[in-house]
C-alpha cells in the first residue's frame, strides 16, 4: 500500500489511464499549465502535452458538448467542470445529449465521457460553489453517478469510470482533496455499482456518501464507546446503486440512517429510504431516518456554513432516536 491524498490518487488514475489508452484526453478550464483549480491535474501536461491536456476557455457548454461529440466519434474524453454548480451552464449537453444518445439512436452510439467535477461545502465558497447536486444526475437514465469518499476508492473508481462506455459523472468533494489514505500499488479498478462496508456493525445501518462517510465513521466510533455498533456503508456509486448490500445490512440491523450533505428535500437519501421501505419493510424495527442539510442555499459565514453541513452529532442523534 502507498499513502496518498485523494487528490494525488485521482491524478494517478488520470495518468495511468492516459498512458494505457491514447484516446483518453483531458479538457477543462485551467487543467493544463495551471494544474487544475484544485491542483488535481498538476503535472499531467508535462507528460502528455497540450494536445491531451487541453486548457479551454471558460465555456462549459463547449467543454461538455465537444466532449460528447468527440466521444461519439471515438475518443474517451475526461472533461472537468470546475464546480458541480457550473453544470447548470451545460446541462443540455449532459442531460439531453450525452445521456440520451445511446437510447435515442437505438443502441448504436457509445458516449464514453467521464465528467469530473467537485461538490461540497466547508471552504467558505458560498451558495454558487458549494452545492451537492448528485440527485439531479441520479434522476437521469443513461448516465452513471460516482461519489468517492477515500483516496483508494477515488483511484479505482475513476479508472473504472474512464474505461466505462457510458457517460459518467464523477463527483469529487473539495474538502476531501487533502485527505490521506492507503492506496493499492499499481493499476486497479473498482466496479461501478458496488457498495463498500466501511465499518461492520449489527445495531444500525448508516449509509453515507462522499464527505459524510467520514462524519458517519466518526459518529460510529463515538457510538461504539456507548456500546452501539453501527454498520457504515458507502454506496460509492449512486447510479447504478448497490441496493443489495444496503438491504442485506438492514436485514441484519433492522435500522437505517441515510446521511448526505445535499439538502434533505428531494435528496438521494429519499431514494434509498424508499427502496428500503418498498423492498425491506419487514426488516425494519424502527422508522428510517434521513440526515441532510436544511432546505436553504449554502451560506457563507463560518458559523452558518458549519450549521448547514451535517455533523457527527446529528448522525448520533438520528441513530439514538431509532434505538
Amino acid at each position: 500500500m502507498l499513502e496518498m491524498t485523494y487528490s494525488q490518487a485521482i491524478n494517478a488514475a488520470l495518468r495511468e489511464e492516459m498512458r494505457r489508452d491514447g484516446t483518453v484526453y483531458i479538457l477543462g478550464e485551467d487543467v493544463g499549465v495551471f494544474g487544475g483549480c484544485f491542483g488535481v491535474t498538476v503535472g499531467l501536461i508535462d507528460e502528455f502535452g497540450a494536445q491531451r491536456v487541453m486548457d479551454t476557455p471558460i465555456s462549459e457548454t463547449a467543454i461538455m458538448g465537444s466532449a460528447v461529440g468527440a466521444a461519439a466519434a471515438g475518443l474517451r474524453p475526461v472533461p472537468e467542470i470546475m464546480f458541480v454548480d457550473f453544470m447548470a451552464v451545460c446541462l443540455d449537453e449532459f442531460f439531453n445529449q450525452a445521456a440520451k444518445m445511446r437510447y435515442m439512436f437505438g443502441g448504436k452510439a457509445r458516449v464514453p465521457v467521464t465528467l469530473r467535477t467537485v461538490c461540497g461545502a466547508g471552504v467558505g465558497a458560498a451558495a454558487q460553489h458549494s452545492q451537492s447536486l448528485e440527485a439531479w444526475f441520479t434522476h437521469m437514465p443513461g448516465v452513471k453517478v460516482v461519489m468517492p469518499s477515500t483516496p483508494a476508492d477515488a483511484k479505482g473508481l475513476l479508472a473504472a469510470s474512464i474505461r466505462d462506455d457510458n457517460p459518467v459523472i464523477f463527483i469529487e468533494h473539495k474538502v476531501l482533496y487533502g485527505l490521506s489514505g492507503p492506496v493499492p500499488e499499481g493499476e486497479y479498478t473498482i466496479p461501478l455499482g458496488k457498495a463498500d462496508i466501511k465499518r461492520p456493525g449489527g445495531d444500525v445501518t448508516v449509509v453515507a456518501t462522499s464527505m459524510m462517510l467520514h462524519k458517519a465513521l466518526a459518529a460510529a466510533q463515538t457510538l461504539a464507546g456507548e456500546g452501539i455498533e453501527a454498520e457504515v456503508i458507502d454506496p460509492r456509486t449512486l447510479s447504478p446503486l448497490d441496493k443489495d448490500t444496503i438491504l442485506e445490512s438492514v436485514a441484519k440491523t433492522g435500522r437505517l440512517v441515510v446521511v448526505h450533505e445535499a439538502v434533505k428535500t428531494g435528496g438521494f437519501g429519499g431514494e434509498i429510504a424508499a427502496i428500503v421501505a418498498e423492498e425491506g419493510f419487514d426488516y425494519l424495527d424502527a422508522p428510517i431516518k434521513r440526515v441532510g442539510a436544511p432546505f436553504t442555499p449554502v451560506p457563507f459565514s463560518p458559523p452558518l456554513e458549519a450549521a448547514y453541513i451535517p455533523d457527527e452529532n446529528k448522525i448520533i442523534a438520528a441513530v439514538k432516536e431509532l434505538l
Binding site: S59, S66, G69, L75
Partner: protein
C-alpha cells in the same frame, strides 16, 4: 475541380429524393399515420445536398430538428429513415428516436436533434476527434438562423477557432425561428457577419443555388482538411412548409411563400442541367419516376416493419 455529369445528376437525384420523401411524410402525417410531430425540409434541399456532396466516409455531420434532408444527403437509407418516422423496429433507432432524432453514427450522422443549437458543440467535438485521430476527417454542423442566437453557437465557434478544428458551420437561414422572423430575432441581416467575432471566414451564399452552396462548402471543407480551421457559411433559403406540419403560418404571407416557391432549388438546378445540355427533360423525368418508386417502396418498408416489442422499452439505456 469540375463536377462530372454523373456527380451532378446524383446531386439532382438526391434533392428530388429529399423532396419526395418530405412530401410523402407530409401526406402520411396529415392522414394520422405517424406519431409525434415532423418538421420538413422542403425548399432547403440545395443546402444539405450541396454541402454533403463534399464529404467522405470519415466525416461527420450534426443536424437539426429539420434533419431528414441532411440524413438523405449524407447517404442514409430512406427505408430505415421512413421506418424510424413510423416508430418501427427497422428504423435507424429502432423507433426510439423518431423524426427529430434520426441518427447513424457509423454513417457519420451524429443525429437530428430536438434541441435548437445543440449540434454546434457536438460537431466541434467530432471535428476534434478527427483532428486527434489524424484521419483527415471534417465535421459539418447544420443549424438555423435562430440557433445562431444561442450560447452554443458562440462557444462552439470560439472553441473551434482557437483550436483550429476541421469543422464547417452551415447556417441554414430560412428566415424564421418558428414564427419569429429573422428581422425580429436578430439585429443583423447576415448571420455570416458573426464570423468576424471569432476570427474565421464567414460568407453568405444563395442557399437555393446548389452550385453556389457546393462551391462555398467545397472551399470550406478544403480549408478544414488543410488544418486552417473552421468556416461559417450562411445559406439564405426558405422553408416551403410551416415550422412543423399543421403550422397555420399566420406569421408570413402567401405572397412571400409564392415568391420563394419560384426560386425552388430543384427546378432551378433542373433548368441549369437542361441549359448546360447535361441532361434532357426525358432523363430528368426518368429520375423523378425512379425517386417516386424509391419512396413508395420506403413507405411500404416502413408500414411492413413491426412495431418494437415492449421488451425494447428499457434496452439501450446503457452500454453493457
Amino acid at each position: 475541380m469540375a463536377l462530372t455529369k454523373e456527380e451532378m445528376m446524383e446531386m439532382y437525384q438526391r434533392m428530388l429524393l429529399i423532396r419526395e420523401f418530405e412530401d410523402s411524410v407530409a401526406n402520411v402525417f396529415s392522414q394520422g399515420q405517424i406519431p409525434g410531430f415532423v418538421h420538413l425540409y422542403v425548399g432547403e434541399e440545395a443546402v444539405a445536398v450541396g454541402v454533403c456532396s463534399n464529404l467522405s466516409d470519415q466525416d461527420y455531420i450534426a443536424s437539426t430538428h429539420r434533419g431528414h434532408g441532411h440524413g438523405i444527403a449524407r447517404g442514409a437509407s430512406v427505408d430505415k429513415m421512413m421506418a424510424e418516422i413510423f416508430g418501427k423496429i427497422d428504423g435507424y433507432c429502432k423507433g426510439k428516436g423518431g423524426s427529430m432524432h434520426i441518427a447513424d453514427v457509423e454513417l457519420g450522422f451524429l443525429g437530428a436533434n430536438g434541441i435548437v443549437g445543440a449540434g454546434l458543440p457536438l460537431a466541434a467535438g467530432a471535428a476534434f476527434a478527427n483532428k486527434y485521430l489524424n484521419n483527415n476527417g471534417v465535421a459539418v454542423c447544420f443549424f438555423g438562423d435562430a440557433a445562431s442566437n444561442r450560447a452554443t453557437f458562440h462557444e462552439a465557434l470560439n472553441l473551434s477557432s482557437i483550436w483550429k478544428l476541421p469543422v464547417v458551420f452551415v447556417c441554414e437561414n430560412n428566415m424564421y425561428g418558428i414564427s419569429m422572423s429573422q428581422e425580429r430575432h436578430q439585429n443583423i441581416t447576415d448571420v455570416a457577419d458573426r464570423a468576424t467575432a471569432y476570427g474565421i471566414p464567414g460568407l453568405t451564399v444563395d442557399g437555393n443555388d446548389l452550385m453556389a452552396v457546393y462551391e462555398a462548402s467545397s472551399e470550406a471543407v478544403k480549408r478544414a482538411r488543410a488544418g486552417e480551421g473552421p468556416t461559417l457559411i450562411e445559406c439564405k433559403t426558405y422553408r416551403h412548409r410551416g415550422h412543423f406540419e399543421g403550422d397555420a403560418c399566420v406569421y408570413r404571407s402567401e405572397d412571400e411563400l409564392n415568391q420563394w416557391k419560384k426560386k425552388c432549388p430543384i427546378k432551378r438546378f433542373a433548368a441549369r442541367l437542361l441549359e448546360m445540355g447535361l441532361a434532357g427533360q426525358d432523363e430528368l423525368d426518368k429520375i423523378n419516376e425512379q425517386v417516386k418508386e424509391q419512396i413508395k417502396s420506403a413507405l411500404e418498408f416502413a408500414r411492413q416493419s413491426p412495431l418494437p416489442d415492449i421488451t425494447e422499452l428499457t434496452k439501450d439505456v446503457y452500454c453493457d
